[in-house]
């Protein structure tokens, strides 16, 4: 009996180009590392644990398919022929989830529904101008990465999708890259989620670098504006925002619908739906998002020379957005007569609610009695809206060219 055919995961390592074999081994190691960092809560465990497992499994389980070609029985993201797809749907166990929820953006919309249910727009309604100003400034990376990516040789659609990493909104990057960068959506989304997991560890250093301790401890004035926002106002805002943004950017309407419907369900007090979306749909879709991202991390993906550019551009986008957000915080600080805490600006980077939590944590370290969370959540929610606006603008501008 041919032992190499018995243990195909191992034998296929020796049957390919050594670079490919090395990439497989490195990805297995990276998968273990992500799993470990997820378990330690250094990186986001909800994404990193299934993603790490997926990476380990997909790079171990390479086998000879019936056609004699090497592959796996997890998922085939490149299949386009209808007959082949029908066959693969019956063999590859994750193919139905990939085809029916991932590649059409449904999973991103379900995550957005869940985020909508978790989001209290009251903070945004209480401080609309400050929140939107900060959020716009925190899109600096999303704006500046686009020309940089083009100058590095990326196609406009790919450049826009990678620039949106600066918005720090995972589902939005997934949706945008599926629409504008179909060939690169796997590496772009993976880079986005990897970096988004790092914001919790990286942004505190940026805050300490750009905001002196004295300013970090500023206690914002207490007012009752948040308490004055009624449920009715939030409901009217959710339907009007969905209507207007969908009218302006039909291409991004699935995201607007999902987010604002989630907000409306929360505010209308439909608890059964809210529980279902928050506890079942959101976590189930996040789990499968992580797992699918992991199994899409095949060796061929990392050997794509464009991945290095994406890593650099993703880092640049998030760094510049963080700087822009703090810049927005300083702008609000001066406009308010030096009463506003500039650290709040980092929350304009819309990684809900991570950046708001990071901002409050850093402020608490400087002054235990300073509470900026309401302002930070307002900026955070506004960040989701400005990122959605930019996604709509990029798609509209590029598709009309």
């Amino acid at each position: 009996m041919d032992l190499s055919m018995l243990f195909q995961g191992i034998s296929t390592l020796f049957a390919v180009d050594p670079r490919m074999a090395l990439a497989r081994i490195l990805l297995i190691a990276l998968g273990v590392l992500l799993f470990y960092l997820g378990c330690k809560h250094t990186l986001e465990p909800l994404i990193m644990i299934p993603m790490g497992f997926g990476m380990v499994a997909i790079n171990s389980a390479v086998l000879y398919l019936s056609t004699g070609v090497m592959g796996n029985i997890f998922v085939d993201p490149m299949v386009s022929d209808t007959n082949a797809l029908m066959q693969i749907l019956q063999v590859d166990f994750l193919q139905p989830i990939y085809t029916f929820t991932f590649s059409n953006g449904l999973i991103a919309c379900i995550v957005f529904l869940g985020i909508g249910v978790l989001t209290d727009v009251g903070y945004l309604l209480a401080y609309p101008f400050t929140s939107m100003l900060i959020a716009f400034c925190a899109e600096l990376g999303t704006i500046l990465t686009f020309p940089l990516a083009i100058s590095m040789g990326l196609a406009p659609g790919d450049a826009a999708a990678v620039a949106l990493i600066g918005g720090a909104d995972g589902p939005m990057v997934l949706f945008a890259s599926l629409t504008m960068a179909k060939d690169l959506f796997v590496p772009i989304t993976i880079v986005a989620y990897l970096y988004l997991s790092l914001t919790y560890g990286g942004y505190p250093f940026l805050i300490r670098l750009l905001v002196p301790k004295k300013l970090r401890g500023i206690k914002p004035p207490v007012d009752d504006r948040i308490a004055s926002v009624t449920r009715r106002e939030k409901l009217v805002f959710s339907i009007v925002a969905c209507l207007v943004l969908s009218l302006l950017f039909p291409v991004a309407a699935p995201l607007f619908l999902s987010f604002f419907l989630g907000v409306a369900i929360r505010e209308a007090g439909v608890e059964k739906y809210a529980e279902m979306l928050e506890n079942t749909f959101l976590y189930a879709s996040t789990f499968f998002l992580g797992l699918l991202l992991g199994v899409l991390c095949e060796a061929t993906t990392v050997l794509n020379p464009v991945i290095l550019k994406l890593l650099v551009l993703g880092m640049f986008a998030l760094l510049i957005s963080g700087i822009g957000g703090i810049g927005g915080g300083y702008l609000a600080y001066f406009i308010s007569g030096k009463k506003f805490n500039p650290v709040t600006g980092i929350a304009g980077v819309s990684c809900v609610p991570t950046t708001a939590k990071v901002a409050q944590k850093e402020v608490t370290l400087a002054n235990r009695s300073a509470i900026i969370l309401p302002y930070a959540i307002g900026a955070n929610v506004s960040g989701v809206i400005t990122t959605a606006i930019l996604t709509g603008l990029y798609i509209t501008f590029l598709l009309s060219k």
Binding site: L124, L125, P128, F129, S131, M132, L133, A135, F136, E139, I143, L144, F146, P147, I150, S151, P156, V229, T230, R232, E233, V236, F237, V240, A241, V244, L248, S382, I385, T386, I389, L390, L393, Y394, F397
Partner: protein, 39 residues
Amino acid sequence: MAQVWIMTAQIAGVAFVLSILTAVAISLIRTVLQKFVRK
């Protein structure tokens, strides 16, 4: 490349205007609801 910069500036400009308009719309919605609906 100049064309790319022009397009970037256009996108940034429209995004800025829409952000401010969103804030204005929120203020308007709140004013209208507080003045006419609450009573």
